[in-house]
Amino acid sequence: MQYRFKTDEDAAVWTVDPEGTDRLTVTTGTQTLHVRHGAVSPHHLHLAVDGLGVNTFVLRGDGEKTVVIRGVPYPVQDADFAERKTKKKADRENLPQVITPPMPSVVVRIPVSEGDRVCKGQAVIVLTAMKMETTLTSPFPGRVTKVNVAAGEKVMPGRILVDIEKEAETDAPDEGR
């Protein structure tokens, strides 16, 4: 069987030959590895690669697994799956960017009001989560059309906190439009 792993440039194609339930031979393109493997627990796999033992810890995600080896997490992605995911992400990025909290938070301050003009990167809302303040900034120059929350309110990711209507950066106010 073949695996295509996502790399920075392209994909790494590995050929895998399982042998029984606990052995496999892997050809990576540059080398051939002989691996013994055994699950210690659902997240703990012990590998012996060409005789050298190592403990690995696997967290399964959506088309991606995080593998922790000697304290360092490695995201490992199946390239076929990753391509589908990247396309979805690109679709999402074409949508207008919005002001939403990255995690469950509490609103501390809203330094802008409805009707205010804001430039790109200007602070529009200050949140606190886990005792740390975070400032969300406007993703583009525009006008604040609506403030949907009040200071002290608890907010969840996905909730649009401030509506900002996009305006061109260099545009002077134009009466005709």
Partner: protein, 495 residues
């Protein structure tokens, strides 16, 4: 001695206090919020009382409910841990009034030292050197600007009620002062319920050195040597060690004497910490006194062999200290790494969530004060500290080697932690050389990413995991979702 103690805190520190209570044969009461129904301190205590909603103001900061919980369960004393009500003079006074023993200094000492500007004045009067700066809080922008000009930029904005880096800002030039003051005051107000701020001269590249103090109510006072806590991010300590690589025996003696003098000047009783900044020329300046058990107290316990919490309880019960300064000897070297729920690759942004799997490190010289377990959901409402990993060795190199081994073995799946970052700090030449200053992280580790040198092994684990979990899926070419479960394949055997 007390028969029962209520621990007015949560997570790892509540559990650590419960351990000593149990060793002393003292009954324990935990308190908890909605978010902490299954937290470690609830599971470890003899009794547990529900306080209210997850928000700290409805639970761990709610003085009436905590006092009621103590009365209801017949607790005689309250241990506040660190954070929450630990340095709240009103809470200490309320305990005293309600006939409960507050395990910490008296309310008047907490108040006098809690106001950083009052503390500065006390130290100046008693000949303890302080950092040049203001001796009273100020809110008027013009006065602050004048004071800043007088001190010379860069200046440091600090919260009068401060601690833990909250409400602290470095200001490089006058045009940034106003906005920084507003933001610092707001953060201080949210963290301490007091938005008062003041200015100090900002010292470049100092070390943070602090001394642990123990004082009984009978006039006996000792220090338990120093801790160096220079490795910080966002003004919050992440690695602490003792002894400090920067202290000579002579400097240690002088700083220790200054620490005891500072504690005496404030009429200190119970355990406390006197913090100093040490400049590259060996001059030290009083920073503040923390009137509580410190997060990093375990390293002091490792090298001195003294249980600081046990001493706190004994002092609160009126027992004499029975320790002389000559008896305090440090053995070996201890290092603590704070393990927070945070992502070091995303500017240390908090990373709450559910712990899916955990493997705790152990072995010679290792101690892990841990507040989590597999299946535990890390709440967003509180400080994201998960555990404190401590390594003790014969000397600094041995302690570093032990810490590295323990960090390698420490696995937490489900949320991000700074474990790989901490390992790279400990391996760095600067840390190994003891060149630890408060700008360490910014100077050596800004935009840090882990060196991912074992990608091939990670891919092998990916494959082995597939083969172990879904071997037939790959073999038959069925997509994972359509793979029949054993029950489906067993057909009628199911019933």
């Amino acid at each position: 001695m007390f028969k029962k103690i209520l621990v007015a805190n949560r997570g790892e520190i509540a559990r650590r206090i419960l351990h000593t209570c149990r060793e002393m044969g003292i009954g324990t009461v935990a308190v908890y919020s909605d978010a902490d129904r299954k937290a470690v301190h609830v599971l470890d205590a003899d009794e547990a009382v529900h306080l209210g909603a997850a928000d700290p103001s409805e639970s761990y900061l709610h003085i009436d409910r905590i006092i009621a919980a103590a009365k209801e369960t017949g607790a005689q004393a309250v241990h506040p841990g660190y954070g929450f009500l630990a340095e709240n003079g009103d809470f200490a006074e309320r305990c005293e009034r309600e006939g409960l023993v507050f395990i910490g200094p008296p309310a008047r000492v907490i108040r006098a030292l809690g106001d950083k500007t009052v503390a500065r004045e006390t130290m100046i009067r008693n000949g303890v050197p302080v950092i040049p700066g203001m001796n009273r809080p100020e809110s008027d922008p013009d006065t602050l600007a004048q004071e800043a000009d007088l001190l010379g930029y860069p200046v440091l904005i600090k919260a009068a009620a401060g601690g833990g880096g909250k409400g602290m800002r470095i200001v490089q030039a006058r045009d940034a002062l106003h906005e920084a003051c507003v933001s610092a005051a707001s953060e201080a107000s949210a963290a301490f319920g007091n938005g008062a701020i003041y200015l100090e001269k900002y010292l470049a590249r100092p070390r943070h050195i602090e001394f642990q103090i123990l004082a009984d109510g009978l006039g006996n006072m000792v220090h338990l040597l120093e801790r160096e806590c220079s490795i910080q991010r966002r003004h919050q300590k992440i690695i602490e060690e003792t002894p400090s690589p920067a202290l000579t025996p002579e400097l240690r003696e002088r700083m220790g004497q200054a620490a005891v003098a500072a504690a005496r000047a404030s009429g200190y009783v119970n355990a406390g910490t006197v913090e100093f900044l040490l400049d590259p020329d060996g001059r030290f300046y009083f920073l503040e006194v923390n009137t509580r058990l410190q997060v990093e107290h375990p390293i002091t316990e490792m090298v001195t062999g003294i249980d600081v919490v046990r001493r706190q309880i004994e002092i609160a019960a009126g027992l004499p200290l029975n320790l002389t300064q000559q008896e305090i000897r440090g053995r070996g070297h201890a290092i603590e790494c704070r393990i927070y729920a945070e992502d070091p690759e995303q500017g240390f942004f908090p990373s709450p969530g559910t712990i899916v799997f955990m493997q705790e490190p152990s072995g010679p010289g290792i101690r892990n004060d841990c507040g989590i377990y597999a299946g535990f959901q890390v709440p967003v409402e509180y400080d994201p500290i998960l555990s404190k990993l401590v390594a003790h060795g014969e000397d600094r190199d041995a302690a570093i080697a032990r810490m590295l081994r323990a960090l390698e073995r420490y696995v937490i799946l489900g949320i991000r932690t700074a474990i790989p970052f901490l390992m790279d700090v400990l391996r760095s030449d600067a840390f190994r050389a003891g060149e630890t200053f408060t700008d360490f992280v910014a100077a050596h580790f800004s935009d840090w990413k882990p060196a991912r040198t074992e990608t091939d092994l990670a891919r092998l684990a990916y494959i082995a995991d597939d083969l172990g979990g879904r071997r037939e899926t790959k073999a038959t070419g069925l997509p994972a979702g359509e793979h029949p479960s054993p029950w489906q394949r067993l057909g009628n055997w199911q019933r």
